[in-house]
């Protein structure tokens, strides 16, 4: 009998040890009590400063009727604090595919209702092209340009920048392809996949083209332009029968050689007008360092051989390829640091939800929040931009839906819009990301934490799970405000029950918590 009791006691003691060991695993210096869903905030660890949030005006802005209600509504919803307060405007310098209706009836896929809207207007008047002159000479002639051809897009950009309460801080002009008259294929995509479509003899002509646009926007329209991005996703194929949009492939050495020429043109422009317009390099299609078609490090390495690379402090990348991979991001940052130290920082300049099933609800919105979190935390991104600001209710590439070309079509935000607003509306340029995460988190619960200039802490809390999560806040912090996006809420202010210093995050929600000390 005694033996039996002894065994029971031994078993109980062993169980206690196991449980204690299990509990001990959940405690750590940041969470000494081992609380579940404990929000850790360490203000002493500061990381990158935020430089903005944006979206591109490619394709759709050229269909916004000037002076229309649509223009007013779109500008307000995207670039004021009455909307989501984006600060980066990405204007697309078209390659002129509208001239020959390149993408009207092929390539874009059945799910795209208006493939013709992937054609872009160009200010260059193709009819004026004089074959007795070189391409450079043709594209250097000011009279060969008519910017009224792209007036809708240009005027919409101006409206966003100068409207009352505008939040536009940075204008970036970007091109997906050189003008079709400058390419080997004579089109804004290659004849075949991976065709380097810009011949070396046209580097200067393409620079003339870009500078003419820059000159028009800066001098003609009086807008401040921060950067020109001449190349977009150079590692991609951008050629063949199924090319659905403008694009141009460059090999790494070609890309660097082109930038070398363009740097000279941009320096001359800056000297002429007293501006500080930069080259935005290089809108890498991804940050995958191990995928054969990734090649991001090869492009950076090619650029590093030139003197002007010393002036480059930021690389722009897109989050396609491995959008939810922590490892892909961290490998890229690790390699970047090994090769170039802390000289180079990163901006994420394009992503969209590339699922063929149309989603305007929380599925893609929660995905967006996950990508944003990982881009800020694991990639160290300073800025974050979505691909197109609007879509035609036919694909997941916009954050609002609007019938392109309509005078007064309804501007209908998707949940992606509101979730992006969970970040963009509460963060300003200069706000710093600080150490912060949810310790002992339930599956799908994570946080991105920032510190504002006034000392407030902004926590963007995501709960992708299908049950609510009680988030335990650290001592000393009080929730001032909370804004929730979920199936029921559209970035709406919600009550902040804080009696137990905890906040309950709804299932499938993204919430911005403003904390004070």
């Amino acid at each position: 009998m005694k033996k039996r009791y002894f065994r029971v006691v031994c078993a109980a003691v062993a169980l206690c040890f196991v449980l204690a060991a299990f509990a001990a695993c959940k405690t750590n210096p940041a969470n000494p009590e081992g609380l579940e869903n404990y929000l850790v905030i360490d203000e002493s660890k500061e990381y990158q400063s935020v430089t903005g949030f944006g979206a591109s005006a490619a394709w759709w802005a050229q269909t916004v009727p000037q002076g229309s209600q649509s223009a007013t509504d779109l500008a307000k919803s995207l670039y004021t604090d009455d909307g989501i307060g984006l600060s980066i405007y990405r204007y697309n310098i078209g390659g002129g595919s509208w001239d020959y209706e390149a993408y009207n009836d092929h390539g874009a896929g059945d799910f795209v209702v208006f493939p013709e809207y992937r054609n872009t207007q160009s200010a260059f008047i193709a009819e004026n092209y004089d074959k007795s002159l070189s391409a450079k000479e043709n594209f250097a002639i000011a009279d060969n340009y008519d910017f009224s051809k792209d007036a809708n897009a240009l005027e919409f950009m101006k409206l966003c920048a100068v409207q009352e309460g505008s939040t536009v801080e940075r204008i970036i002009l970007f091109a997906n392809s050189p003008h079709y008259l400058l390419t080997k294929s004579g089109k804004t995509n290659g004849d075949y996949k991976y065709q380097s479509n810009l011949p070396e003899e046209n580097y200067e002509a393409y620079c003339e083209y870009l500078i003419k646009y820059l000159e028009y926007v800066v001098v003609g329209m009086g807008l401040d332009v921060e950067a020109v991005s001449a190349i977009n996703e150079p590692q991609h194929a951008w050629g063949g029968e199924d090319s659905p949009q403008e694009g141009c492939h460059y090999e790494p050495e070609e890309l660097a050689a082109f930038y070398d020429v363009f740097h000279g043109y941009l320096s001359d422009f800056n000297a002429r007008y007293g501006t500080t317009v930069k080259m935005d390099v290089f809108e890498s299609g991804n940050y995958d360092v191990y995928k054969s078609k990734g090649r991001v490090m090869e492009y950076i390495y090619a650029m590093s051989k030139y003197d002007w690379f010393d002036e480059i402090d930021t690389i722009s990348v897109h989050s396609y390829g491995s959008p939810t991979s922590v490892e892909a991001r961290e490998s890229f940052v690790y390699m970047l640091n090994n090769l170039y130290g802390d000289k180079i920082s990163v901006e994420m300049s394009e992503i969209c939800y590339m699922e063929a099933v149309l989603d305007e609800g929380m599925t893609s919105a929660l995905w967006l929040s996950e990508v944003m979190n990982k881009d800020f935390v694991n990639l160290g991104a300073k800025a974050w931009s979505w691909w197109m600001a609007t879509s035609c209710d036919d694909y997941n590439d916009g954050i609002v839906t609007w019938m392109w070309g309509s005078e007064d079509g309804e501007v209908k935000p998707t949940k992606r819009y509101y979730v992006m607003g969970n970040y963009s509306r509460f963060l300003d340029s200069g706000d710093k990301r600080i150490e912060g995460y949810v310790d002992n988190a339930d599956d799908g619960v994570f946080a991105t934490v920032f510190k504002k200039g006034n000392g407030d802490i902004v926590v963007v809390l995501t709960n992708t799970g299908n049950k609510k999560a009680v988030i335990n806040l650290p001592d000393g912090y009080t929730i001032e405000e909370a804004y929730e996006t979920s199936a029921e809420m559209d970035l709406k202010k919600v009550a902040t029950v804080n009696s137990d210093n905890a906040y309950t995050a709804s299932a499938g929600s993204v919430t911005t918590l403003i904390l004070s000390k």
């Binding site: 191990y290 054969s292 490892e327 390699m335």
Partner: protein, 191 residues
């Protein structure tokens, strides 16, 4: 009972075969785990190094492929009861070679780049991934076990032959012959 079982050369052979095969199979299984990686966390599997979809099509890297395929073939070889012990020695040799090649997976991966780019990737921090190190070690372990399997087979063959020829005079002779002929006198000393 167990002790007696160990004393039987056939059981020992079986044990060595299964152990070698297990090590070799795990080594092969790691074909689908990272072979190169970095401290940042991402990596590339040996499978993807072997079958690399590059811009101009699918490229086959024979070194990466065979370094991992050999353990699979050898795993099959060592579990089959070959009378010819050289089969096991050959398997051991191939597994040894495979293990060594696996330890060079980083360089094998970098062969697709020019020397300049390969050097850039080395500086960037590409290194042999932990699963490849495990695969290499396991392949070497399998090689060692396959070698022992061959040796155990040799001793068994000698012992069995002696037992057969001298059986009428008494079973005890087995141990005598075995003890005289090698360091294998009984089950405890066979390996």
């Amino acid at each position: 009972m167990i002790k007696k079982a160990f004393e039987k050369p056939t059981f020992l052979q079986l044990l060595l075969s299964v152990a070698a095969a297990c090590f070799a199979l795990v080594a092969f299984g790691l074909f689908f785990a990272d072979a190169v990686g970095d401290k940042g966390g991402d990596g590339l599997s040996a499978f993807k190094i072997a079958f690399d979809v590059m811009i101009d099509g699918l490229h086959f890297n024979a070194r990466a492929f065979f370094a991992y395929l050999i353990p699979l073939l050898c795993a099959a070889a060592v579990v089959l009861p070959f009378k010819e012990k050289k089969v096991y020695y050959a398997a051991a040799f191939l597994l040894l070679a495979a293990g060594i090649v696996i330890f060079f997976m980083k360089e094998i991966y970098l062969t697709k780049y020019t020397d300049e780019l390969a050097d850039m990737y080395r500086k960037a921090g590409v290194s042999l991934a932990a699963p490849a190190i495990v695969a290499g070690v396991f392949s070497l372990c399998a090689a060692g076990l396959a070698l022992l399997r061959g040796l155990a087979g040799e001793k068994f063959a000698v012992a069995a032959k002696a037992e057969k020829s001298e059986a009428p005079e008494g079973g005890e002779k087995v141990n005598e012959i075995a003890t005289d002929g090698s360091d294998v006198g009984n089950g405890e000393a066979q390996v």
